[in-house]
Amino acid sequence: MKGIAFFVEGATEYDFILQLLQSKYAFWKPLPITDHVCILDSTDNRYRARISNAASDSRVKDELWDSQEKLQEIGYSTFLCIRDLRGEWKKNKPKTLSDVVKIKNADSKILKLNNDDNLSLYSILAVMETETWFITETSHYERINPKLTRPFIEANIDNIEGNVNPFVCSPKAIYEPAETLKSIYKLVGLIYEKDANHRRRTIRALDYNFFDQRSCGKNRTRFTARIDSGKQIGTILQRQIRWPRYTRRSPRQILRGIN
């Protein structure tokens, strides 16, 4: 059984990966190991995924680094860590797009510290927050509320944080994604806070086919910061593991979700 281990910075990323694996790839329900770690197997028993929520930005890479050797011994060979650019970096200084090159350079150095060719290490950086991925998956709005149609949203851009038009904007241009998402839902009186019910409502409504539409390129880039709208995760998974996948699901199926 081949293993892939995810190390994420918080509950939003944890739920997102969990739903991605269950919705798009055929994984069973998770087996919780602790409050922050769960394991789930593919329905054909060929793959095992482990998701670990570090619950702190600065612990994500630490946890990957500290547990990688032991996990490798039991069959894990692909490791992904996911954090966002807005998080708690050193000195409490939020990072911006201009810092991404420096983050990539730091990641390249870290790679050199562990140059095991049998490993695939990926560092995914959400710019600015994971909510960017949700904003850009625009088909989910109507599943959240049928009134949230494209014409309706575009007619109310002035009421959206940062005047972001989610249908045409560049993901990198969304400065405060969580606030923007909140303001989009607020157009129909819905609330989006960082509690379990709100984030899971969104996560269950997402179309996970959206997250692998772009090619990663031919270069085998390991442990390098990536910026995108969340599509790279799906692409990495596709390239790493030939998992059995569900066929495209209807919005109703997606809305129902697995949990």
Partner: protein, 378 residues
């Protein structure tokens, strides 16, 4: 007054040991310093050297009394924009060279037992001859050598704690002591006399206890009172520090406290005492936080740092504890590594690029040390 830089060498039974920055330069110290290193890397050695320097400057010891009696110090101090540069070299307990300049003006120049020293009132450098092991810098003459007082006071009032010791838990109040009877200041170097310092602090300032309680609460010890009580013992009649803990009836005397709790209290009492006496200039804390859990050690170090900054106290701490490393920004770090008979320091001043890079690595601070990311060739 703050110790800005130090370069130290010693020779002992033919073995040389140096404290230096990479490239044999003096190490630069800041207002807040966390010396990080593995066991046997020289962390405690650095603290011992600074303590020795303090004892030498205030005349509490002489080169001939030192275990390492062949050594040399090159140090720089800063006091209200004045720069003091002091060099002291001694061989087998005898001074070989001693030199002091302030803002570039030479005030002491001495070779072996004789030299010249500035007499301020006369305005001249005048010859002197002294014992081989007596330092010129320890002369006390407010008329002729007033410029030496800041150095001597720095040495006199340096606080030195070793967090891995009892820190006075086994020492009761010395009720008949001279200091207590006459309200005299206890030397903060006598760090096992914390009970006496507490007693004096209470006698001098009615708010002393309240501040210690506030500090204790800041590091999550839920106490409602602090007092001096008789030890819980059927025969002994001695007075010690006692705390009233929430949800516990009666008081817990210092001998009953957990060692970690007492050490935290001891540090807070002694810091507050030094602040109260207006004597705090530099505090050395070896193995800070040892024996405390993660949250409390983090809270303690934050509190100590905050107090040091508020009262302009230089703080020099050592640790090899990951929790402590993660609790303090790497800007304050001095990483020590033992290399070829030298204890070499890596800090933001001499390794700026790697310190800057680490800001983007996304690791917690302890990984910077553990993975040797402060070295180019790691």
């Amino acid at each position: 007054m703050k110790l800005k830089s130090i370069y130290y060498t010693q020779e002992h039974y033919g073995r040389e040991w140096k404290i230096c920055s990479d490239g044999s330069q003096p190490i630069e110290l800041q207002a807040i310093n966390l010396i990080v290193g593995k066991n046997a890397s020289g962390k405690s050695g650095v603290v011992r050297v600074i303590r020795t320097l303090a004892d030498l400057l205030c005349g509490e010891t002489t080169p001939s009394k030192l275990l390492y009696s062949t050594a040399s110090f090159d140090v720089t101090f800063e006091d209200r924009d004045k720069i003091y540069i002091y060099r002291l070299s001694f061989h087998k307990g005898s001074v070989v060279e001693e030199k002091l300049s302030i803002d570039g003006n030479l005030l002491i120049e001495r070779t072996n037992g004789s030299g010249k020293i500035l007499y301020s009132n006369v305005g001249k450098m005048i010859d002197f001859a002294t014992g081989d092991s007596t330092l010129a810098v320890t002369r006390e003459d407010t008329l002729q050598h007033p410029y030496l007082a800041p150095l001597q006071n720095w040495g006199k009032w340096l606080n030195h704690f070793s967090f891995s010791t009892k820190m006075g838990q086994n020492i009761a109040i010395k009720e008949g002591s001279r200091e207590l009877q006459n309200n005299e200041t206890i030397s903060v170097k006598e760090s096992d006399r914390v009970a006496d310092m507490f007693s004096l602090g209470c006698a001098i300032d009615e708010n002393f206890i309240g501040r210690i309680i506030d500090d204790a609460k800041a590091i999550n010890y839920n106490i409602s009172g602090l007092s001096i009580e008789n030890i819980h013992h059927p025969v002994l009649n001695v007075k010690v520090i006692a705390v009233n803990e929430d949800r516990l009836a009666g008081y817990t005397d210092q001998t009953e406290m957990s060692s970690g709790m007492f050490r935290a209290f001891s540090l807070l009492i002694q810091m507050e005492y030094a602040i109260l006496r207006k004597t705090a200039t530099c505090i050395l804390i070896d193995d800070i936080g040892e024996g405390l859990d993660y949250d409390r050690s983090k809270q303690l170090i934050a509190l100590v740092k905050q107090k040091a900054e508020a009262h302009d106290i230089q703080l020099i701490m050592t640790t090899n504890d990951e929790n402590i490393m993660n609790g303090i920004d790497i800007d304050y770090w001095q990483i020590v590594v033992r290399e070829d008979g030298r204890t070499v320091f890596y800090n933001r001043q001499n390794t700026k690029e790697l310190f800057d890079e680490f800001e983007y690595a996304g690791f917690s601070n302890s990984k910077f040390f553990k993975l040797n990311m402060f070295k180019e060739d790691n």
